[in-house]
């Protein structure tokens, strides 16, 4: 299990290589999510602000929720903050499980949480100025899917 919050750029493929290498051959399924800065609308940079200890602690809490909710063998979360260029990776989530359903659902759950509950604040910088951006309405709807039903446990090996 690992949670890393960093300002340095990172490469999702290298993260997947490291994640796969640290498995012992047990997981049948690894799901990853990579979030990248989209360069649309004249965006020149995206800047993420964090808040000291709160950011890392809240993300670690989500990781614990995911491991409580699904039978995961391993989880990796890497989240950048500070200024980023279009195309660069903002976030990487990997979930390993015996079977794919748990890995898919946990990665999906973690991303919904990161989008709406991770203590980061986002500013889009374009040629004409800067503006703070907030979760889309869909992000809150997506995140609410997990509150209504307890995550499923696997019923068979």
């Amino acid at each position: 299990m690992s949670v890393v919050i960093q300002t340095e750029p990172f490469d999702p493929a290298s993260a997947l290589a490291a994640f796969t290498a640290r498995q012992n051959g047990e997981p049948g399924a690894i799901v990853t999510f990579s979030g990248h800065v989209r360069g649309e609308g004249g965006l020149t940079a995206l800047e993420l602000e964090s808040y000291d200890g709160l950011t890392e602690r809240e993300i670690a809490r989500m990781e614990t929720e995911a491991r409580t909710g699904w039978p995961l063998l391993d989880v990796m979360i890497i989240h950048r903050y500070g200024p980023m260029a279009p195309g660069e990776a903002i976030v990487f989530v990997a979930a390993a499980a015996k079977h794919r359903r748990s890995a898919f659902e946990a990665a999906d759950f973690l991303m919904d949480g990161l989008k709406t509950r991770a203590p980061f604040w986002k500013k889009e910088i374009t040629e004409t100025g800067a503006r703070w951006i907030e979760p889309r309405a869909e992000d809150y709807v997506d995140a609410s899917r997990w509150a209504t039903a307890a995550p499923k446990q696997e019923t068979s090996p």
């Binding site: 989240h79 907030e134 979760p135």
Partner: protein
């Protein structure tokens, strides 16, 4: 005295990163703190009206009913958005 910390777009409204303030006697909870800051201006009232605005007390998220007090670091957090 409490240390108020302004995050993200709330810093733009405050015009500063931090402010040392004496909490009025009626500000006893995180919810009271939001009401008090909202009363400063129309701009503040609008910015804090979003249901996803949160307060962190000493770098821990608190609920509107949770106590705040002099000596605390009280951060005003606009809606969070990672990923």
């Amino acid at each position: 005295m409490a240390k108020l910390v302004f995050i993200g777009r709330l810093r733009d409204i405050a015009g500063c990163t931090e402010e040392t303030a004496a909490l009025p006697a009626h500000v006893r909870t995180a919810g009271d703190l939001l009401s008090w800051i909202s009363s400063r201006s129309e701009l503040w009232a609008e910015a804090l009206a979003h249901p996803a605005v949160r307060v962190a007390r000493n770098q821990e998220l608190v609920a509107p009913g949770d106590a705040v007090a002099d000596g605390d670091e009280l951060a005003l957090l606009p809606p969070m958005s990672g990923g």
